[in-house]
Symmetry: C2
Subunit: 237 residues, 2 copies
Amino acid sequence: MKKQLLLVSSSRCKNGGYFEHCSNAIKEFFGPMTGNDKVAFVPYALKDHDGYTSVVSKAFLDMGYKIESVHTHKSPKDFIVDPSVKAIFVGGGNTFRLLNELHKKGILETIRAKIQNDGIKYMGSSSGSNIACPTIMTTNDMPIVMPPNFNALGFVDFQINPHFIPGSLMPGHMGETRETRIKEYHEENNTPVIGLTEANWITVNGDKTILHGERDSFIFEKGKEVRMWRPETELVL
Amino acid sequence: MKKQLLLVSSSRCKNGGYFEHCSNAIKEFFGPMTGNDKVAFVPYALKDHDGYTSVVSKAFLDMGYKIESVHTHKSPKDFIVDPSVKAIFVGGGNTFRLLNELHKKGILETIRAKIQNDGIKYMGSSSGSNIACPTIMTTNDMPIVMPPNFNALGFVDFQINPHFIPGSLMPGHMGETRETRIKEYHEENNTPVIGLTEANWITVNGDKTILHGERDSFIFEKGKEVRMWRPETELVL
């Protein structure tokens, strides 16, 4: 089946509302949904599943979509494979916790199969975009829990570093920059990394991978100079 | 044996030279060394062991100490237990890589035993301070490799978050603040966390744990208000 992905860097941009900066892109991506059609929401990156679901439900209702969180179902697995589920949205938070919970609930494979075999749409934001990659190794998050391994859904053949910002975050701060962190990743691994700025999102439609949004993002490949990725252009690796 | 630790947040502060901001503290901590006495250096947090050792050797020679890196020895384990080794210094870099290499080289236990049983001195900087804690779960680093587990040396009963900076790093950036990350850590774990600013370092002398340096650091305890930790005062948890 043709892969259809929407991978957002950040649910908020420049202090704007929840998905305000990319609500048109979300509507275009999901298209019209009718009747009992719904988006299955995965809230596990945050601790407060009910609170998270309520924020997300409101934002999606405003865009015309019904959200139902997997955590409200006795069997998240059965819910995800229900024919009324037309898309899956995995929200941001802590990537280690998210991956660990997907393992604990036994739905990592269920989500992978549903996207890859049934061709339903996948949207991720921040951590949810991280876990669409081969591994979670380019997350910015703290390792607050230990998942069984770092392998993720692998829908794309590149890594995403969400909330990307070039250079030092604060004048005189000596912590590693994102570029240094990604360079360290490439000392140990070979997969290209997209430094996805908060103003950007990626759509994948079959074999077409396109950047969208107000700014440029950055393409890091092992042993090569970093390149800009311009909005409305296709990713070439 | 009495524990003697020096845990530095950052090898550089405000663009200063390597350990410039705390060189007096290092000299006071190690005291005089004579003859064949040396500090065993653990360079595994960075990829370039030779380059790293050369930078560190120079800085330590300027302070009057001979450094010898464990990576130059066929058996790092035998070297660490050599009686001429009066202290161990674990340098900063990527904490996941550091912990993984300590496992691969089989010296995590060797270092632990040498510090805990023989009472030699331990100095860590950044990642090297992280791994003196019970786990590496409060590192800022990218998970570029997967260690067998997140357990570390456990010389202290608190976690350190090095290079700590309060608040948002850049106006309008929506990535999680350090406070949010530490709050997420406490949603899953109970150990107190020290947000150690780059101007600070911690000395542990038996059961006395004291903060030093130009600024305040921060004490995060699960379910409690964050507290300031003033320099030259003892840690009370």
